[in-house]
Amino acid sequence: MTRERLLTFALLAALLALPFAAQALGYPFYTTLATRMAILALAATGLNIALGLGGLVSFGHAAFFGIGGYAAGIVATHAMNAQPLLGLDIPASMPLVWLLAALSAGLVAAITGAISLRTSGVYFIMITLAFAQMIFYFAISWKAYGGEDGLSIALRNGFPGMNTAVPRDLFMIAFALLLAGLLIFWRVRVSRFGAALHAARQNELRVAAIGIEPFPIRLVAFVVSAMITAVAGAMFAELNRFASPSMLAWPMSGELIVLIILGGTGRLAGPVAGAMLYVMLEYWLGSITERWQFFLGLTLLGVVLFARGGIVGLVAGKARHG
Protein backbone atom coordinates (compact mmCIF):
# COMPACT_ATOMS: atom_id res chain seq x y z
CA MET A 1 0.00 0.00 0.00
CA THR A 2 1.38 3.40 -0.92
CA ARG A 3 1.91 6.02 1.74
CA GLU A 4 -0.71 8.17 0.11
CA ARG A 5 -3.33 5.46 0.36
CA LEU A 6 -2.32 4.73 3.93
CA LEU A 7 -2.66 8.40 4.77
CA THR A 8 -6.09 8.51 3.16
CA PHE A 9 -7.32 5.63 5.29
CA ALA A 10 -5.74 7.06 8.43
CA LEU A 11 -7.39 10.46 7.89
CA LEU A 12 -10.78 8.94 7.18
CA ALA A 13 -10.51 6.69 10.26
CA ALA A 14 -9.60 9.68 12.40
CA LEU A 15 -12.52 11.68 11.03
CA LEU A 16 -14.91 8.79 11.62
CA ALA A 17 -13.63 8.28 15.16
CA LEU A 18 -13.93 11.96 16.07
CA PRO A 19 -17.68 12.11 16.88
CA PHE A 20 -17.52 8.89 18.90
CA ALA A 21 -14.50 10.08 20.85
CA ALA A 22 -16.20 13.43 21.33
CA GLN A 23 -19.29 11.72 22.74
CA ALA A 24 -17.21 9.54 25.06
CA LEU A 25 -15.17 12.49 26.31
CA GLY A 26 -18.21 14.66 26.77
CA TYR A 27 -17.63 17.22 24.01
CA PRO A 28 -20.67 16.60 21.81
CA PHE A 29 -19.98 19.86 19.97
CA TYR A 30 -17.07 18.16 18.23
CA THR A 31 -19.57 16.05 16.30
CA THR A 32 -20.67 19.22 14.55
CA LEU A 33 -17.06 20.09 13.81
CA ALA A 34 -16.48 16.63 12.35
CA THR A 35 -19.61 17.00 10.20
CA ARG A 36 -18.35 20.37 9.00
CA MET A 37 -15.02 18.77 8.12
CA ALA A 38 -16.69 15.99 6.15
CA ILE A 39 -18.91 18.41 4.23
CA LEU A 40 -16.12 20.83 3.36
CA ALA A 41 -13.92 17.90 2.36
CA LEU A 42 -16.67 16.72 0.02
CA ALA A 43 -17.06 20.19 -1.50
CA ALA A 44 -13.33 20.43 -2.05
CA THR A 45 -13.23 16.90 -3.48
CA GLY A 46 -15.65 18.12 -6.12
CA LEU A 47 -13.47 21.11 -6.90
CA ASN A 48 -10.41 18.85 -6.88
CA ILE A 49 -11.70 17.11 -10.03
CA ALA A 50 -11.67 20.37 -11.97
CA LEU A 51 -8.72 22.01 -10.26
CA GLY A 52 -6.51 19.13 -9.21
CA LEU A 53 -6.99 16.77 -12.13
CA GLY A 54 -7.97 19.19 -14.86
CA GLY A 55 -5.88 22.19 -13.84
CA LEU A 56 -9.01 24.32 -14.17
CA VAL A 57 -8.63 27.00 -11.50
CA SER A 58 -12.29 27.72 -10.86
CA PHE A 59 -12.73 30.68 -8.56
CA GLY A 60 -16.46 30.24 -8.82
CA HIS A 61 -17.29 27.02 -7.06
CA ALA A 62 -19.08 28.95 -4.33
CA ALA A 63 -21.89 29.27 -6.87
CA PHE A 64 -22.36 25.51 -6.97
CA PHE A 65 -21.93 25.17 -3.22
CA GLY A 66 -24.59 27.82 -2.74
CA ILE A 67 -26.94 26.37 -5.33
CA GLY A 68 -26.81 23.14 -3.32
CA GLY A 69 -27.54 25.07 -0.16
CA TYR A 70 -30.53 26.79 -1.69
CA ALA A 71 -31.82 23.47 -3.03
CA ALA A 72 -31.91 22.21 0.57
CA GLY A 73 -33.51 25.43 1.80
CA ILE A 74 -36.11 25.56 -0.94
CA VAL A 75 -37.15 21.92 -0.54
CA ALA A 76 -37.36 22.29 3.24
CA THR A 77 -39.41 25.48 2.96
CA HIS A 78 -41.85 24.08 0.42
CA ALA A 79 -42.28 20.82 2.31
CA MET A 80 -42.82 22.66 5.58
CA ASN A 81 -45.50 24.93 4.12
CA ALA A 82 -46.99 22.10 2.06
CA GLN A 83 -46.49 24.32 -0.93
CA PRO A 84 -46.00 22.57 -4.25
CA LEU A 85 -42.68 23.12 -6.07
CA LEU A 86 -43.02 23.37 -9.86
CA GLY A 87 -46.53 21.99 -9.46
CA LEU A 88 -45.46 18.92 -7.49
CA ASP A 89 -45.98 18.09 -3.86
CA ILE A 90 -42.56 17.30 -2.55
CA PRO A 91 -41.33 15.41 0.47
CA ALA A 92 -38.64 16.83 2.75
CA SER A 93 -36.17 14.22 1.62
CA MET A 94 -32.40 14.56 1.48
CA PRO A 95 -31.90 12.31 -1.55
CA LEU A 96 -34.37 14.48 -3.44
CA VAL A 97 -32.44 17.57 -2.35
CA TRP A 98 -29.17 16.04 -3.54
CA LEU A 99 -30.70 15.21 -6.89
CA LEU A 100 -32.07 18.74 -7.30
CA ALA A 101 -28.80 20.26 -6.13
CA ALA A 102 -26.70 18.19 -8.49
CA LEU A 103 -29.00 18.74 -11.47
CA SER A 104 -29.34 22.49 -11.08
CA ALA A 105 -25.64 23.02 -10.36
CA GLY A 106 -24.81 20.72 -13.27
CA LEU A 107 -27.01 22.78 -15.57
CA VAL A 108 -25.47 26.08 -14.45
CA ALA A 109 -21.99 24.58 -14.75
CA ALA A 110 -22.73 23.33 -18.25
CA ILE A 111 -23.77 26.82 -19.38
CA THR A 112 -21.11 28.87 -17.59
CA GLY A 113 -18.47 26.21 -18.26
CA ALA A 114 -19.20 26.19 -21.98
CA ILE A 115 -18.41 29.92 -22.02
CA SER A 116 -15.53 29.97 -19.52
CA LEU A 117 -13.73 26.98 -21.01
CA ARG A 118 -13.32 28.77 -24.30
CA THR A 119 -10.66 30.69 -22.42
CA SER A 120 -7.85 29.59 -20.18
CA GLY A 121 -5.43 30.81 -17.54
CA VAL A 122 -6.25 34.10 -15.84
CA TYR A 123 -9.29 34.63 -18.03
CA PHE A 124 -10.79 31.41 -16.73
CA ILE A 125 -10.15 32.44 -13.13
CA MET A 126 -11.74 35.86 -13.61
CA ILE A 127 -14.72 34.58 -15.59
CA THR A 128 -15.62 31.83 -13.15
CA LEU A 129 -15.38 34.42 -10.39
CA ALA A 130 -17.63 36.78 -12.35
CA PHE A 131 -20.26 34.15 -13.05
CA ALA A 132 -20.34 33.14 -9.39
CA GLN A 133 -20.86 36.78 -8.48
CA MET A 134 -23.72 36.88 -10.96
CA ILE A 135 -25.42 33.95 -9.22
CA PHE A 136 -24.78 35.65 -5.88
CA TYR A 137 -26.51 38.85 -6.99
CA PHE A 138 -29.32 36.83 -8.47
CA ALA A 139 -29.87 35.06 -5.14
CA ILE A 140 -29.84 38.20 -3.01
CA SER A 141 -32.31 39.93 -5.28
CA TRP A 142 -34.64 36.92 -5.37
CA LYS A 143 -37.05 38.00 -2.66
CA ALA A 144 -39.23 34.88 -2.81
CA TYR A 145 -36.40 32.87 -1.26
CA GLY A 146 -35.15 35.25 1.36
CA GLY A 147 -33.14 37.71 -0.70
CA GLU A 148 -30.29 39.11 1.33
CA ASP A 149 -31.53 37.37 4.49
CA GLY A 150 -31.06 33.87 3.13
CA LEU A 151 -33.34 30.96 3.78
CA SER A 152 -33.75 29.30 7.16
CA ILE A 153 -34.36 25.58 7.43
CA ALA A 154 -36.68 25.17 10.39
CA LEU A 155 -36.66 21.40 10.12
CA ARG A 156 -33.91 19.46 8.37
CA ASN A 157 -34.91 17.32 5.41
CA GLY A 158 -35.14 13.64 6.27
CA PHE A 159 -33.26 10.53 5.31
CA PRO A 160 -34.81 7.03 5.41
CA GLY A 161 -33.78 5.18 8.55
CA MET A 162 -31.98 8.11 10.08
CA ASN A 163 -32.97 10.95 12.34
CA THR A 164 -31.32 13.95 10.75
CA ALA A 165 -31.98 16.05 13.84
CA VAL A 166 -29.47 13.88 15.73
CA PRO A 167 -25.94 15.23 15.18
CA ARG A 168 -24.32 11.83 14.87
CA ASP A 169 -26.84 10.64 12.28
CA LEU A 170 -26.21 13.76 10.26
CA PHE A 171 -22.48 13.15 10.54
CA MET A 172 -22.85 9.58 9.29
CA ILE A 173 -24.78 10.78 6.24
CA ALA A 174 -22.16 13.44 5.50
CA PHE A 175 -19.37 10.92 6.00
CA ALA A 176 -21.00 8.40 3.65
CA LEU A 177 -21.38 11.13 1.02
CA LEU A 178 -17.72 12.02 1.46
CA LEU A 179 -16.76 8.40 0.85
CA ALA A 180 -18.92 8.35 -2.26
CA GLY A 181 -17.32 11.59 -3.45
CA LEU A 182 -13.83 10.23 -2.88
CA LEU A 183 -14.75 7.06 -4.73
CA ILE A 184 -15.91 9.09 -7.72
CA PHE A 185 -12.73 11.18 -7.61
CA TRP A 186 -10.55 8.09 -7.45
CA ARG A 187 -12.33 6.32 -10.31
CA VAL A 188 -12.22 9.44 -12.44
CA ARG A 189 -8.51 9.80 -11.76
CA VAL A 190 -7.57 6.29 -12.88
CA SER A 191 -10.05 6.03 -15.77
CA ARG A 192 -9.61 6.82 -19.43
CA PHE A 193 -11.48 10.03 -18.86
CA GLY A 194 -9.09 10.98 -16.07
CA ALA A 195 -6.09 10.15 -18.23
CA ALA A 196 -7.34 12.47 -20.96
CA LEU A 197 -8.23 15.20 -18.44
CA HIS A 198 -4.91 14.98 -16.68
CA ALA A 199 -3.01 14.93 -19.97
CA ALA A 200 -4.89 17.97 -21.27
CA ARG A 201 -3.78 19.87 -18.18
CA GLN A 202 -0.16 19.18 -19.02
CA ASN A 203 -0.12 19.55 -22.78
CA GLU A 204 -3.31 20.57 -24.51
CA LEU A 205 -1.84 20.59 -28.00
CA ARG A 206 -0.49 17.06 -27.68
CA VAL A 207 -3.85 15.75 -26.53
CA ALA A 208 -5.54 17.38 -29.52
CA ALA A 209 -2.85 16.09 -31.87
CA ILE A 210 -3.63 12.50 -30.96
CA GLY A 211 -7.30 13.05 -31.64
CA ILE A 212 -8.87 13.86 -28.25
CA GLU A 213 -10.74 17.17 -28.01
CA PRO A 214 -9.84 18.78 -24.69
CA PHE A 215 -12.96 20.95 -24.54
CA PRO A 216 -15.68 18.30 -23.99
CA ILE A 217 -13.44 16.44 -21.56
CA ARG A 218 -12.98 19.58 -19.50
CA LEU A 219 -16.61 20.55 -19.70
CA VAL A 220 -17.73 17.17 -18.34
CA ALA A 221 -15.11 17.39 -15.58
CA PHE A 222 -16.34 20.88 -14.70
CA VAL A 223 -19.96 19.71 -14.55
CA VAL A 224 -19.19 16.61 -12.44
CA SER A 225 -17.06 18.77 -10.19
CA ALA A 226 -19.91 21.27 -9.75
CA MET A 227 -22.43 18.53 -8.99
CA ILE A 228 -20.36 17.08 -6.16
CA THR A 229 -19.73 20.50 -4.67
CA ALA A 230 -23.46 21.22 -4.86
CA VAL A 231 -24.35 18.10 -2.87
CA ALA A 232 -21.85 19.23 -0.24
CA GLY A 233 -23.50 22.66 -0.26
CA ALA A 234 -26.87 21.05 0.40
CA MET A 235 -25.45 19.25 3.43
CA PHE A 236 -23.78 22.44 4.62
CA ALA A 237 -27.13 24.22 4.64
CA GLU A 238 -28.73 21.26 6.45
CA LEU A 239 -25.98 21.33 9.07
CA ASN A 240 -26.40 25.05 9.72
CA ARG A 241 -30.18 24.90 9.14
CA PHE A 242 -29.63 27.91 6.95
CA ALA A 243 -29.01 28.53 3.26
CA SER A 244 -26.99 31.71 3.46
CA PRO A 245 -26.08 34.01 0.58
CA SER A 246 -22.56 33.91 1.99
CA MET A 247 -22.34 30.33 0.70
CA LEU A 248 -22.48 31.87 -2.78
CA ALA A 249 -20.09 34.70 -2.08
CA TRP A 250 -16.55 34.84 -3.47
CA PRO A 251 -14.71 34.14 -0.16
CA MET A 252 -16.30 30.69 -0.17
CA SER A 253 -14.71 29.98 -3.56
CA GLY A 254 -11.38 31.03 -2.13
CA GLU A 255 -11.90 28.88 0.93
CA LEU A 256 -12.53 25.79 -1.19
CA ILE A 257 -9.32 26.37 -3.12
CA VAL A 258 -7.50 26.91 0.16
CA LEU A 259 -8.72 23.54 1.45
CA ILE A 260 -7.29 21.79 -1.57
CA ILE A 261 -3.95 23.57 -1.48
CA LEU A 262 -3.57 23.08 2.26
CA GLY A 263 -4.13 19.37 1.75
CA GLY A 264 -2.36 18.81 -1.55
CA THR A 265 -3.60 19.52 -5.08
CA GLY A 266 -4.84 16.57 -7.11
CA ARG A 267 -4.38 14.17 -4.22
CA LEU A 268 -7.21 11.89 -3.15
CA ALA A 269 -6.73 12.74 0.51
CA GLY A 270 -5.86 16.39 -0.14
CA PRO A 271 -9.33 17.82 0.50
CA VAL A 272 -9.83 15.61 3.56
CA ALA A 273 -6.54 16.67 5.12
CA GLY A 274 -7.15 20.27 4.09
CA ALA A 275 -10.69 20.41 5.50
CA MET A 276 -9.68 18.80 8.79
CA LEU A 277 -6.78 21.19 9.24
CA TYR A 278 -8.82 24.19 8.15
CA VAL A 279 -11.72 23.52 10.51
CA MET A 280 -9.31 22.83 13.38
CA LEU A 281 -7.39 26.00 12.61
CA GLU A 282 -10.59 28.01 12.36
CA TYR A 283 -11.80 26.60 15.68
CA TRP A 284 -8.49 26.82 17.49
CA LEU A 285 -7.48 30.26 16.21
CA GLY A 286 -11.05 31.41 16.72
CA SER A 287 -10.89 30.41 20.38
CA ILE A 288 -7.64 32.31 20.90
CA THR A 289 -8.31 35.49 18.99
CA GLU A 290 -11.19 37.30 17.41
CA ARG A 291 -8.76 38.17 14.60
CA TRP A 292 -8.23 34.59 13.53
CA GLN A 293 -8.65 35.40 9.83
CA PHE A 294 -5.60 37.63 10.04
CA PHE A 295 -3.48 34.74 11.23
CA LEU A 296 -5.15 32.34 8.84
CA GLY A 297 -4.09 34.66 6.04
CA LEU A 298 -0.51 34.69 7.29
CA THR A 299 -0.48 30.90 7.67
CA LEU A 300 -1.80 30.54 4.17
CA LEU A 301 0.82 32.90 2.77
CA GLY A 302 3.45 30.77 4.47
CA VAL A 303 2.05 27.59 2.94
CA VAL A 304 1.90 29.05 -0.57
CA LEU A 305 5.34 30.61 -0.43
CA PHE A 306 7.22 27.92 1.43
CA ALA A 307 5.34 24.59 1.67
CA ARG A 308 4.16 23.66 -1.78
CA GLY A 309 2.53 20.27 -2.07
CA GLY A 310 0.41 20.67 1.05
CA ILE A 311 0.09 18.20 3.89
CA VAL A 312 -0.25 15.15 1.70
CA GLY A 313 2.82 16.27 -0.20
CA LEU A 314 4.77 16.58 3.03
CA VAL A 315 3.74 13.15 4.27
CA ALA A 316 3.48 11.08 1.11
CA GLY A 317 6.17 12.71 -1.00
CA LYS A 318 5.98 14.04 -4.52
CA ALA A 319 3.05 13.04 -6.71
CA ARG A 320 3.64 10.08 -9.00
CA HIS A 321 1.70 9.30 -12.09
CA GLY A 322 1.92 5.73 -13.38
Binding site: I115, A130, L301
Partner: protein
Protein backbone atom coordinates in the same frame (compact mmCIF):
# COMPACT_ATOMS: atom_id res chain seq x y z
CA UNK B 1 -38.85 63.99 -18.02
CA UNK B 2 -37.19 61.01 -19.62
CA UNK B 3 -34.34 62.84 -21.41
CA UNK B 4 -33.19 64.35 -18.15
CA UNK B 5 -33.36 60.95 -16.50
CA UNK B 6 -31.39 59.40 -19.33
CA UNK B 7 -28.71 62.09 -19.13
CA UNK B 8 -28.49 61.73 -15.39
CA UNK B 9 -28.18 57.97 -15.55
CA UNK B 10 -25.69 58.20 -18.38
CA UNK B 11 -23.53 60.42 -16.20
CA UNK B 12 -23.91 58.01 -13.28
CA UNK B 13 -22.82 55.21 -15.57
CA UNK B 14 -19.87 57.26 -16.70
CA UNK B 15 -18.92 57.95 -13.10
CA UNK B 16 -19.04 54.23 -12.23
CA UNK B 17 -17.13 53.55 -15.44
CA UNK B 18 -14.20 55.85 -14.69
CA UNK B 19 -13.94 54.44 -11.16
CA UNK B 20 -13.80 50.94 -12.59
CA UNK B 21 -11.17 52.16 -15.01
CA UNK B 22 -8.94 53.29 -12.13
CA UNK B 23 -9.16 49.76 -10.71
CA UNK B 24 -8.93 47.93 -14.00
CA UNK B 25 -5.99 49.98 -15.29
CA UNK B 26 -3.81 48.87 -12.39
CA UNK B 27 -4.90 45.26 -12.66
CA UNK B 28 -4.32 45.09 -16.36
CA UNK B 29 -0.93 46.85 -16.13
CA UNK B 30 0.20 44.46 -13.42
CA UNK B 31 -0.93 41.52 -15.46
CA UNK B 32 0.51 42.86 -18.69
CA UNK B 33 3.93 43.65 -17.28
CA UNK B 34 4.41 41.04 -14.56
CA UNK B 35 1.96 38.35 -15.60
CA UNK B 36 0.38 38.45 -12.16
CA UNK B 37 -3.27 38.13 -11.21
CA UNK B 38 -3.79 40.22 -8.10
CA UNK B 39 -6.92 39.52 -6.06
CA UNK B 40 -5.69 41.87 -3.35
CA UNK B 41 -6.19 44.88 -5.60
CA UNK B 42 -9.53 45.45 -3.89
CA UNK B 43 -7.70 45.67 -0.58
CA UNK B 44 -5.60 48.54 -1.91
CA UNK B 45 -8.83 50.29 -2.88
CA UNK B 46 -9.99 49.82 0.69
CA UNK B 47 -6.66 51.08 2.07
CA UNK B 48 -7.04 54.25 0.02
CA UNK B 49 -10.57 54.83 1.29
CA UNK B 50 -9.62 54.27 4.93
CA UNK B 51 -6.53 56.45 4.68
CA UNK B 52 -8.56 59.26 3.16
CA UNK B 53 -11.36 58.96 5.73
CA UNK B 54 -8.95 58.78 8.67
CA UNK B 55 -6.78 61.70 7.58
CA UNK B 56 -9.79 63.79 6.57
CA UNK B 57 -11.36 63.18 9.98
CA UNK B 58 -8.12 64.04 11.75
CA UNK B 59 -7.14 67.16 9.79
CA UNK B 60 -10.56 68.21 8.59
CA UNK B 61 -9.32 68.37 5.03
CA UNK B 62 -10.59 66.05 2.32
CA UNK B 63 -7.69 67.12 0.12
CA UNK B 64 -5.06 66.02 2.60
CA UNK B 65 -7.02 62.80 2.89
CA UNK B 66 -6.84 62.36 -0.85
CA UNK B 67 -3.07 62.82 -0.79
CA UNK B 68 -2.87 60.36 2.08
CA UNK B 69 -4.91 57.81 0.16
CA UNK B 70 -2.50 57.90 -2.76
CA UNK B 71 0.50 57.70 -0.47
CA UNK B 72 -0.92 54.94 1.73
CA UNK B 73 -2.08 52.76 -1.15
CA UNK B 74 1.19 53.21 -3.05
CA UNK B 75 3.18 52.43 0.08
CA UNK B 76 1.05 49.41 0.90
CA UNK B 77 1.44 48.25 -2.68
CA UNK B 78 5.20 48.68 -2.63
CA UNK B 79 5.57 46.87 0.69
CA UNK B 80 3.40 43.99 -0.42
CA UNK B 81 5.25 43.77 -3.72
CA UNK B 82 8.63 43.60 -2.04
CA UNK B 83 7.64 41.14 0.68
CA UNK B 84 5.19 38.82 -1.08
CA UNK B 85 4.24 39.54 -4.68
CA UNK B 86 7.81 39.46 -5.96
CA UNK B 87 8.03 35.78 -5.05
CA UNK B 88 4.97 35.00 -7.14
CA UNK B 89 5.97 36.17 -10.62
CA UNK B 90 7.44 32.82 -11.55
CA UNK B 91 4.66 30.82 -9.95
CA UNK B 92 1.56 29.52 -11.68
CA UNK B 93 -1.73 31.40 -11.50
CA UNK B 94 -3.06 29.10 -8.81
CA UNK B 95 -0.32 30.11 -6.37
CA UNK B 96 -0.89 33.76 -7.26
CA UNK B 97 -4.60 33.46 -6.64
CA UNK B 98 -4.04 31.76 -3.32
CA UNK B 99 -1.37 34.10 -2.01
CA UNK B 100 -3.28 37.22 -2.98
CA UNK B 101 -6.44 35.69 -1.46
CA UNK B 102 -4.44 35.27 1.75
CA UNK B 103 -3.44 38.94 1.46
CA UNK B 104 -7.12 39.92 1.33
CA UNK B 105 -7.69 38.10 4.63
CA UNK B 106 -4.71 39.86 6.19
CA UNK B 107 -5.69 43.30 4.88
CA UNK B 108 -9.37 42.98 5.76
CA UNK B 109 -8.84 41.66 9.24
CA UNK B 110 -5.93 44.03 9.82
CA UNK B 111 -8.09 47.00 8.86
CA UNK B 112 -10.88 45.79 11.12
CA UNK B 113 -8.30 45.52 13.88
CA UNK B 114 -7.16 49.10 13.39
CA UNK B 115 -10.47 50.80 12.69
CA UNK B 116 -13.07 48.53 14.22
CA UNK B 117 -16.07 47.00 12.53
CA UNK B 118 -18.12 50.16 12.10
CA UNK B 119 -18.03 51.95 8.77
CA UNK B 120 -16.35 55.34 8.57
CA UNK B 121 -17.94 58.26 6.80
CA UNK B 122 -16.20 60.66 4.52
CA UNK B 123 -17.79 63.97 3.63
CA UNK B 124 -17.70 65.51 0.21
CA UNK B 125 -15.35 68.51 0.32
CA UNK B 126 -17.25 71.82 0.63
CA UNK B 127 -15.89 73.12 -2.66
CA UNK B 128 -17.56 70.25 -4.50
CA UNK B 129 -20.95 70.11 -2.78
CA UNK B 130 -24.14 71.06 -4.52
CA UNK B 131 -25.30 70.49 -8.04
CA UNK B 132 -24.85 72.18 -11.37
CA UNK B 133 -27.45 72.70 -14.03
CA UNK B 134 -26.66 70.91 -17.23
CA UNK B 135 -28.28 71.42 -20.63
CA UNK B 136 -31.65 69.70 -20.72
CA UNK B 137 -32.62 70.92 -17.28
CA UNK B 138 -30.64 68.33 -15.34
CA UNK B 139 -29.19 69.15 -11.95
CA UNK B 140 -26.20 66.96 -11.41
CA UNK B 141 -23.98 66.70 -8.28
CA UNK B 142 -20.71 68.59 -8.71
CA UNK B 143 -18.77 65.91 -6.87
CA UNK B 144 -19.80 63.17 -9.27
CA UNK B 145 -18.89 65.38 -12.21
CA UNK B 146 -15.53 65.96 -10.57
CA UNK B 147 -15.00 62.21 -10.28
CA UNK B 148 -15.70 61.81 -13.97
CA UNK B 149 -13.19 64.55 -14.77
CA UNK B 150 -10.56 63.04 -12.48
CA UNK B 151 -11.06 59.65 -14.09
CA UNK B 152 -10.75 61.07 -17.59
CA UNK B 153 -7.68 63.07 -16.56
CA UNK B 154 -6.07 59.92 -15.15
CA UNK B 155 -6.86 58.07 -18.37
CA UNK B 156 -5.17 60.80 -20.42
CA UNK B 157 -2.26 60.95 -17.98
CA UNK B 158 -1.79 57.21 -18.10
CA UNK B 159 -1.87 57.26 -21.87
CA UNK B 160 0.77 60.02 -21.93
CA UNK B 161 2.84 58.17 -19.34
CA UNK B 162 2.86 54.98 -21.33
CA UNK B 163 3.30 56.43 -24.80
CA UNK B 164 5.57 59.40 -24.07
CA UNK B 165 7.84 58.75 -21.11
CA UNK B 166 10.87 56.63 -20.33
CA UNK B 167 8.98 54.73 -17.68
CA UNK B 168 6.24 54.09 -20.21
CA UNK B 169 8.74 52.80 -22.73
CA UNK B 170 10.06 50.39 -20.15
CA UNK B 171 6.55 49.26 -19.29
CA UNK B 172 5.80 48.61 -22.94
CA UNK B 173 9.08 46.77 -23.31
CA UNK B 174 8.21 44.70 -20.26
CA UNK B 175 4.88 43.76 -21.76
CA UNK B 176 6.28 42.56 -25.02
CA UNK B 177 9.54 40.99 -23.96
CA UNK B 178 10.88 40.57 -20.46
CA UNK B 179 14.35 39.62 -21.63
CA UNK B 180 14.58 42.75 -23.69
CA UNK B 181 14.13 45.13 -20.81
CA UNK B 182 16.92 43.28 -19.04
CA UNK B 183 19.01 43.92 -22.13
CA UNK B 184 18.07 47.60 -22.05
CA UNK B 185 19.77 47.75 -18.69
CA UNK B 186 16.58 48.40 -16.76
CA UNK B 187 16.48 47.25 -13.18
CA UNK B 188 13.50 44.93 -13.49
CA UNK B 189 12.94 44.55 -9.79
CA UNK B 190 12.57 48.30 -9.32
CA UNK B 191 10.41 48.62 -12.42
CA UNK B 192 8.04 45.94 -11.11
CA UNK B 193 7.80 47.61 -7.73
CA UNK B 194 7.08 50.96 -9.37
CA UNK B 195 4.39 49.51 -11.65
CA UNK B 196 2.76 47.71 -8.74
CA UNK B 197 2.81 50.83 -6.58
CA UNK B 198 1.38 52.87 -9.45
CA UNK B 199 -1.49 50.39 -9.85
CA UNK B 200 -2.01 50.45 -6.10
CA UNK B 201 -2.13 54.25 -6.04
CA UNK B 202 -4.81 54.30 -8.74
CA UNK B 203 -6.85 51.77 -6.75
CA UNK B 204 -6.37 53.84 -3.59
CA UNK B 205 -7.49 56.99 -5.41
CA UNK B 206 -10.62 55.22 -6.62
CA UNK B 207 -11.35 54.02 -3.09
CA UNK B 208 -10.95 57.50 -1.64
CA UNK B 209 -13.15 59.15 -4.28
CA UNK B 210 -15.92 56.57 -3.93
CA UNK B 211 -15.53 56.66 -0.15
CA UNK B 212 -17.25 60.04 -0.08
CA UNK B 213 -20.25 58.64 -1.93
CA UNK B 214 -20.63 55.44 0.07
CA UNK B 215 -19.54 54.34 3.51
CA UNK B 216 -15.93 53.33 4.05
CA UNK B 217 -15.87 49.77 5.31
CA UNK B 218 -14.00 46.50 5.28
CA UNK B 219 -14.93 44.39 2.27
CA UNK B 220 -15.80 47.42 0.09
CA UNK B 221 -13.05 46.56 -2.38
CA UNK B 222 -13.94 43.08 -3.52
CA UNK B 223 -17.24 43.74 -5.33
CA UNK B 224 -15.42 46.50 -7.24
CA UNK B 225 -12.53 44.14 -7.89
CA UNK B 226 -14.84 41.56 -9.44
CA UNK B 227 -16.48 44.23 -11.60
CA UNK B 228 -12.99 45.30 -12.66
CA UNK B 229 -12.30 41.70 -13.64
CA UNK B 230 -15.40 41.79 -15.84
CA UNK B 231 -14.05 45.00 -17.36
CA UNK B 232 -10.68 43.43 -18.09
CA UNK B 233 -12.18 40.27 -19.51
CA UNK B 234 -14.33 42.37 -21.83
CA UNK B 235 -11.52 44.75 -22.78
CA UNK B 236 -8.78 42.17 -23.13
CA UNK B 237 -6.12 41.53 -20.50
CA UNK B 238 -3.11 43.81 -20.70
CA UNK B 239 -4.80 46.50 -22.77
CA UNK B 240 -5.22 49.93 -21.17
CA UNK B 241 -7.47 50.99 -24.04
CA UNK B 242 -9.55 47.86 -23.52
CA UNK B 243 -9.75 48.61 -19.80
CA UNK B 244 -10.97 52.14 -20.50
CA UNK B 245 -13.64 51.22 -23.03
CA UNK B 246 -14.62 48.10 -21.09
CA UNK B 247 -15.00 50.16 -17.92
CA UNK B 248 -17.23 52.73 -19.57
CA UNK B 249 -19.31 49.97 -21.16
CA UNK B 250 -19.76 48.11 -17.88
CA UNK B 251 -20.47 51.32 -15.96
CA UNK B 252 -23.10 52.54 -18.38
CA UNK B 253 -24.75 49.16 -19.00
CA UNK B 254 -24.94 48.36 -15.31
CA UNK B 255 -26.36 51.76 -14.34
CA UNK B 256 -28.81 52.03 -17.20
CA UNK B 257 -29.86 48.40 -16.80
CA UNK B 258 -30.79 48.86 -13.18
CA UNK B 259 -33.05 51.79 -14.02
CA UNK B 260 -34.50 50.88 -17.37
CA UNK B 261 -34.65 47.08 -17.43
CA UNK B 262 -37.31 46.83 -14.70
CA UNK B 263 -39.34 49.50 -16.51
CA UNK B 264 -38.99 47.65 -19.77
CA UNK B 265 -40.05 44.40 -18.12
CA UNK B 266 -42.99 46.12 -16.47
CA UNK B 267 -44.14 47.31 -19.86
CA UNK B 268 -43.79 43.82 -21.31
CA UNK B 269 -44.94 41.57 -18.46
CA UNK B 270 -46.95 43.80 -16.16
CA UNK B 271 -45.79 45.21 -12.84
CA UNK B 272 -45.97 42.17 -10.54
CA UNK B 273 -43.65 39.71 -12.29
CA UNK B 274 -41.40 42.57 -13.37
CA UNK B 275 -40.86 43.64 -9.78
CA UNK B 276 -39.50 40.25 -8.77
CA UNK B 277 -37.65 39.52 -12.00
CA UNK B 278 -36.39 43.00 -12.85
CA UNK B 279 -34.00 43.38 -9.94
CA UNK B 280 -32.55 39.93 -10.37
CA UNK B 281 -32.16 40.29 -14.10
CA UNK B 282 -30.64 43.76 -14.08
CA UNK B 283 -28.05 42.68 -11.51
CA UNK B 284 -27.05 39.92 -13.93
CA UNK B 285 -26.99 42.14 -17.00
CA UNK B 286 -23.28 42.95 -17.23
CA UNK B 287 -22.36 39.32 -16.77
CA UNK B 288 -24.66 38.41 -19.61
CA UNK B 289 -22.99 41.12 -21.72
CA UNK B 290 -19.62 39.66 -20.75
CA UNK B 291 -20.71 36.17 -21.76
CA UNK B 292 -22.04 37.51 -25.05
CA UNK B 293 -18.77 39.26 -25.86
CA UNK B 294 -16.73 36.22 -24.89
CA UNK B 295 -18.79 34.01 -27.15
CA UNK B 296 -17.44 36.00 -30.09
CA UNK B 297 -14.12 37.27 -28.77
CA UNK B 298 -12.77 34.80 -26.21
CA UNK B 299 -9.78 37.04 -25.50
CA UNK B 300 -11.75 40.23 -25.13
CA UNK B 301 -12.24 43.19 -27.42
CA UNK B 302 -8.70 44.57 -27.44
CA UNK B 303 -6.49 41.67 -26.40
CA UNK B 304 -2.90 41.94 -27.48
CA UNK B 305 -2.44 39.69 -30.48
CA UNK B 306 -6.14 38.95 -30.94
Amino acid sequence: MPTALIIEQLLNGLQLGVMLFLMAAGLTLIFGVMGLINLAHGSLYMVGAFACAAVAAWTGSFWLGLVASLAAAAAAGAIVEVTVIRRLYDRDHLDQVLATFALILVFSEGTRWLFGSFPLYLDIPPALTGAVALPGGVFYPVYRLAIILVGLAVAVGLWLLISRTRLGMRIRAGESDREMIGALGVDIRTLYTVVFALGAALAGLAGALVGALQSVQVGMGEPVLILAFVVIVIGGIGSIKGAFLGALLVGVVDTMGRIFLPQLLAALLGPAPAASLGGALSSMLIYIVMAGILAFRPRGLFAAGA
